[in-house]
Every structure is written in C-alpha cells, then in structure tokens.
C-alpha cells in the first residue's frame, strides 16, 4: 500500500506539471500570433495564402482552447485518481468511477485529435482562392491507440467497481 501512496504522490506532481505546461503553451500561442504561425506552419506547411492573423488567429485560438479541454479534463481526473490512491482509497466506488471517466476522456481525446487537423486546415484555407482551399482527414495510429486505451481504461474501471464491491463484502466478514 505504501508504494501505491508514494507512486501516486509522485505522479500527481507529474500531472500538475503537465497541466501547467499545456496551459502555458496554450497561452503563449494565443498571445503571440507569430508563434502560432510557426507552430501551424511546422505541422501543416504553408497552406494558408494569407497568413495566420486577425479572424483566423481568433478562430484557431478558439479551436485550440476547445481541443485542449479533453486533455485538461483527463489530467484533472488523473490528479483526482492519484489523490484517492494516495489517500489509500484504492478499491472504492469513487476511484472506479474516476477511472471510467478517465477512459471516456481518452476516447474524447482520440476523437478531438482526429477532428482538429481537419478544422485547422479548413480555417487556414477558407479564404484561399477557389482551387486552393483544402479539406484534409487525418486518421492516425495514435488516435486509434488512444481510443483503444480509453476503452481499456473503461473496462478496467468496471472491473474495479466489481473489486470494490467484493472488498466491501470482505470487510463485512470478520
């Protein structure tokens, strides 16, 4: 039990660090349009003929905010789960429920990571001249792995519900 507590406390800080870095990076690309332009160019090339400024920057900022929400939610759930484990609540209903929510968040992250590139390219090229507008659909192994991982975590969550029930039963037997 002690190693679960120590490991969870350590991972809690890793999660907090990750969340802080994500929020800081998001703030930087929203506040610094040239940085966003560099990031977008690095990932999608120079698909926009009119650059990334004004309305496009606003739309991409909004999209970035929306796209990062499932990740932040997943990190918040990890923070809560590791907090429960650190408090010794391993086989409990609330830990199992948090695990299931984490699995759902991972599936949502997979969906968002598939849709985001399509929307980014749509925003970048909507004001291009006819013939230069683009629509891309990107389905990667990473999104598949993330969705599979989410499904696995949900299944483990259900198993933990059962384990919590058995543990409660055992506690009532002296």
């Amino acid at each position: 039990m002690e190693h679960i507590r120590r490991h969870s406390l350590f991972l809690r800080w890793v999660v907090a660090l990750g969340a802080g870095l994500i929020v800081a990076f998001l703030a930087l690309i929203i506040l610094l349009p040239p940085l966003m332009e560099d990031v977008v160019a690095g990932q999608f090339g120079s698909v926009s003929e009119n650059g990334v400024s004004g309305t496009k920057h606003l739309m991409l900022s909004g999209l970035a905010l929306l796209a990062v929400l499932p990740t932040l939610r997943a990190l918040q759930l990890c923070w809560r789960l590791f907090g429960l484990y650190a408090a010794g609540e391993v086989l409990t209903e609330s830990a199992a429920a948090t695990l299931k929510s984490l699995g759902r968040s991972a599936i949502l992250m997979a969906v968002v990571s598939t849709l985001t590139p399509t929307l980014v390219v749509l925003i970048l090229t909507y004001d291009n001249p006819p013939g230069a507008r683009q629509l891309t659909i990107q389905i990667g192994g990473m999104a598949y792995a993330l969705a599979l991982f989410g499904g696995l975590i949900i299944t483990v969550g259900w198993a933990m519900v059962e384990a919590a029930r058995v543990d409660a039963d055992n506690k009532a037997i002296i």
Partner: protein
C-alpha cells in the same frame, strides 16, 4: 429471524469480557461488538475456530438458527 449470534450469552457464561476475547482471537473489539449485534455478513472459519477454542464451546453454542 435467520442466524442469531449468541456470543454474548457464551461470554457471560465464561465470565469473559469482549476486550479479552478480541485480544486472544486477534480481531478488534469493534468487530466482536459487530458480531454480537449480528451486524456482519459472515464469519471466517478461522475466526470461528479461535472463538470456539477460547470459549471452549461448539459453533452451535454461539450461532443458532431461528425461524
């Protein structure tokens, strides 16, 4: 009624206190209290064996079935 725990009767017969039994059996006094009040789902054979050994009785002396 179902299974009725008569451990308190046996404890009184043997003039033994719950705390003393708990110490010998190796479970908490709170668990002995829960057992006496019948607020448990079950009892392990291991615990039952130690209680019977300590009180020098049979399982039927502390557990009875009532309709």
């Amino acid at each position: 009624m179902g299974i009725v725990v008569t451990l308190d009767v046996m404890l009184a017969r043997r003039k033994m206190k719950s705390r003393e039994l708990a110490e010998i059996v190796g479970i908490t006094e709170q668990n002995i209290s829960l057992l006496k009040s019948g607020k448990v789902k079950g009892i392990r054979f291991e615990t039952l064996e130690k209680i019977c050994e300590t009180l020098d009785c049979q399982p039927g002396d502390i557990l009875t079935f009532e309709v």
